[in-house]
Amino acid sequence: MSETAEHDFLFASRGDGRELGAYVVAVDFCRASGAAGFGLGDGSVHIGPAFTAHQAHKGAVLSLCADVTSGFLTGGDDGKLAHTGTESTVLADYGSRWVEHVAAHPEGVRAASVGRALHLLDGAGKPLKSLAHPSTVAGIAIDAKGKRVAASHYNGASLWFVGAKEDKPRLLEWKGSHAAIAFSPDGTHVVTAMQEMSLHGWRLADGQHMRMSGYPAKTHFLSFTAKGRWLATSGAESVVLWPFFGGGPMGKAPSELAGGDDVMCTAVVCHPQHEVVAAGFGDGLVLIAEIASGKVVPVAPPGKGGISALRWNANGNMLAFGTDKGFCGTVDLAKR
């Protein structure tokens, strides 16, 4: 990629971006308007296309996702869970503790982790339940149907049914510290990224363990392709993809895409329909790659900080990214 000329990047002709001056923690797209929303380390949420600023938190935004029907759900180090649409409102205040992770589902579920607790709220903001864990929750994921929520922590992950009358988790055990977590799209597998620079997975039907290792750095991004055939991951000097078909990933080697520049892949996210993955790197490069062919399309050039946030919109025709130096960008990939 290093020899690619500036004008070859799609960002030059199809992109829009702003220097916003604070670490970009996360980006997602509004379920109603389709606008990109960026959560930043200065507590602000910027919503496209004009990158309109809202002060959602006093300190830093620690997590952001698209909220249930519209706008964005954020957790902050001011202890607040907030919704930002046309304006910012506080949904819950957890006092002195950080709201480290948030997730939301169109079925009307909001999840926020605060220390060892995972708080579930409904679409109106009413608290539903508070789920306790043996140690601090380090990642949360809601399955595709919005029925189950998984929380990672020390020595495994806990799997909860959102609508259960009695709250008793299924404990997925594996020694060590688990952080990033993902469900496969069909809800049959849960995968976590571990402190020890490896992944651990569980096949829920029979509890079969899956160990995926060999990373030179910690994996922060886990993303399954639309039909769940591949799991794309950050944490190596290429996009590492594990096959979840043909008996894999057990006993299978992962595929690697877009490597060779000796730069760490810091973010990955799979296209919502096709077997295509977008990847961001430590030097600021953003690209998209077709998994079957390995063909790579350069999206944004290096130079504006390491990629810390990356997301496709629901149609898969818009990509948004943010960097640790505060650059926020969107790229329109629609057919012209």
């Binding site: 001056g21 604070a22 670490y23 923690v25 930043l40 380390g41 200065d42 006093k58 300190g59 830093a60 935004v61 620690l62 180090d77 001011d78 002195s96 503790r97 950080w98 480290e100 220390g115 060892r116 140690s135 601090t136 380090a138 020390y154 020595n155 020694k175 060590g176 510290s177 571990m194 402190q195 020890e196 750095a217 910690k218």
Partner: protein
């Protein structure tokens, strides 16, 4: 790596004066901005958005090393603090009174993300001058907190007379002769003399050669933890040293609380600083040797059950020109049986 945020770890027994010191750090106008990680929010009567409430969550790294424990909450907190727009002059991590300082210190060696963002600046232990003897008698933690310290705030000096003060300093020195001691009453030492001292900086520690160490035996019989130090005059062979110290730390790391060294490598005009907390080690070149200073290498071990002759012979065998048979024997001493 110059933009790494310096971290001060604050340890000390309950009631020694940590909270008083933290309150001063947060309220006094000292011109610095510190993020403070505490473990019980209620105890500080300060409303400050730079105070982070943490659980001391220790876990064992799955790397086959049983003493390699780290604080998972700190890994997350450092990552979170780095997202803030405002920059800090430092991060202060308070530990509970009974806590072993090792997992906190090891976090700054073991996690790559944390290492990139922050560096351990010093371990500061607040000690109650009046009650230290009693604490040492009834707890292993009190002794470890002193052994780990780079700087000791000897507090509540208004409660002891000159004789008692000298005795408590002697007790501290017997455990850790290299720590700097600052005397205070109501934790009233200037904040900048305690925090942000760069006292993990080995150079300073090792240059502060305790004069009473000239004698061979500084083994104190009233404590379990002891320290030994060695100096050699011939250049060190880096390959030999690395192999030896790796084996030694792997075999003996549980007993070795702190290891620090300044090394003169052969054919290199820079000083190499080495340090370890239990089995986790780190090292870097710090600066060029000055023309007027002898290129000697020194190493210090603070720990339990240390065999002085074995450690000395091992370090000596790492010198260029030491007989390779000696070296092989020293390496084999710490190697697992094959």
């Amino acid at each position: 790596m110059t933009d790494q945020v310096p971290v001060t770890v604050l340890t000390g027994y309950l009631g020694a004066g940590k909270t008083t010191l933290l309150n001063r750090i947060l309220t006094e106008n000292h011109g610095k901005k510190y993020a403070v990680v505490i473990n019980e929010f209620g105890e500080l009567g300060v409303d400050n958005d730079l105070v982070v409430d943490a659980d001391e969550e220790v876990f064992e790294m799955n790397n086959g090393c049983i003493c390699c424990t780290v604080r998972g909450d700190l890994i997350r907190i450092v990552a979170g603090l780095m997202k803030r727009r405002e920059k800090f002059d430092g991060i202060i991590v308070e530990t509970t009174g009974l806590a072993d300082p090792a997992p906190v210190a090891q976090t700054f060696f073991a996690d790559e993300d944390v290492k990139r963002a922050a560096k351990l600046d010093s371990i500061v232990t607040v000690v109650d001058a009046k009650n230290l003897a009693a604490r040492l008698a009834d707890s292993r933690e009190a002794e470890e907190q002193i052994a780990f310290a780079d700087l000791i705030l000897l507090n509540k000096m208004d409660l002891v007379n000159a004789e008692e003060a000298a005795e408590v300093e002697r007790r501290i020195r017997a455990i850790n002769p290299w720590a700097e001691i600052i005397r205070s009453t109501k934790s009233d030492a200037p904040v900048t003399s305690v925090i942000g001292r760069d006292s993990f900086n080995l150079e300073k520690i090792l240059e502060r050669e305790p004069d009473f160490l000239s004698g061979e035996d500084n083994h104190s019989h009233d404590t379990e933890v002891l320290s030994v130090s060695f100096k050699v005059e011939n250049p060190i062979d880096p390959e030999r040293f690395n192999a030896w110290i790796t084996q030694l730390l792997a075999a003996k790391g549980q007993d070795l609380l702190r290891t620090k060294g300044i090394l003169a490598y052969a054919n290199d005009d820079r000083r190499f600083a080495f340090q370890a907390v239990h089995m986790l080690a780190d090292g870097d070149y710090i600066r060029k040797w000055r023309d007027d200073e002898p290129r000697h290498s020194r190493i210090v071990f603070i720990g339990r059950d240390l065999n002085r002759p074995q450690l000395r012979r091992g370090f000596e065998a790492c010198q260029v020109g030491a007989p390779s048979s000696n070296y092989e024997a020293e390496l084999a001493r710490w190697s697992p049986p094959s």
